[in-house]
Symmetry: C3
Subunit: 138 residues, 3 copies
């Protein structure tokens, strides 16, 4: 069982996709299994994080922007892959630190997420992008 999803992004940030993933799993009607989500890009990530307080998303974005500053920041002057813009190589670095895929058990035809867990696409580029996700259910 597999499907392709697209997520439209408008700059850096966390885009919640929990609802569309939960709906797809429910329609697939698999009682117990494992869901794999995989993003076919090297400058965005998938993330499971708290979906209660929106300030958590802001703080995550702020933290990772400091952990991996833009290539224009003096501390990043050693970077060589800079011709695609100051946000490009930092996006690759964040895409190394944060997951490219998620593996979530399915129980009772639902991803077995905890009460506060939501599924996000974490966009690391500034420009608009259309991101492709592959979902697979065993």
């Amino acid at each position: 069982m597999h499907a392709q999803f697209t997520v439209s992004t408008r700059g850096q940030g966390l885009y919640e996709i929990t609802d569309q993933i939960v709906s797809w799993v429910r329609e697939a009607d698999v009682d117990v299994g494992v869901l794999t989500l995989f993003v076919q890009h090297t400058s965005c990530s998938l993330l499971i994080q708290e979906n209660a307080d929106p300030e958590v998303k802001d703080d995550l974005l702020a933290y990772f922007s400091r952990l991996v500053p833009p290539a224009s920041d003096p501390s990043m002057s050693y970077l060589r892959h800079t011709y695609e813009g100051p946000d490009d190589m930092p996006a690759h670095i964040k895409a190394a630190i944060l997951p490219v895929s998620l593996t979530i058990p399915v129980v009772g035809s639902r991803p077995a997420l905890g009460t506060w867990q939501g599924i996000y696409l974490f966009e690391h580029r500034d420009a608009q992008h259309c991101r492709r996700l592959i979902a697979h259910l065993v």
Copy 2:
């Protein structure tokens, strides 16, 4: 084949769970397959790490405490989600950097861990917690 485990934690640190996971896989009696472990929280992680020298655990804890200091640290003054305590938002950040799930091949009814690999729950909160893990075996 799936099961739920709970892990009691008493503050930040790495809690080894290798033995209970290996026992469960042995009892499941699946010769070749894939084991998925998933933690239903956004302020702790799962980690595969060296289980030989306990100083590795201390050093990992020390490193991540410096990489993501408490919200009370001046360098973290930009954080906004702070009303659940100075260890809360840093816990979410560490739970973004470190894995929420582990996928381990099973060969000969055993997780195919290397000689020095152990499975840990990495607790990022200071208070006592009871953490829920979902294990799934294909």
Copy 3:
């Protein structure tokens, strides 16, 4: 369906293994499924990253060498597990931050990698090593 691969490394860096993994999946002749790759070590990682411009690999190596400096660096003087060399404990830390396993959907007997995605073993030790990988296909 499972197999063991070995990767010879000659110091820190990213070693591309896309071709051998893609070949193995093609020979396994599974139309739709999930590929799990797992590295049986605690001082190297697996990574999906851009395989177009080799400078991306250099920049990733440079970034992670700064994020986790050698134990001989004054900023790392708190480390205690240092008797296996100044690159050892930093290798464990990088192996915590970066993935020990990868989960990739398989569609049309191919790992569903995006256009620019390659699969790498990321070696964190200075000395030569022979790294073992377990591949599993459902």
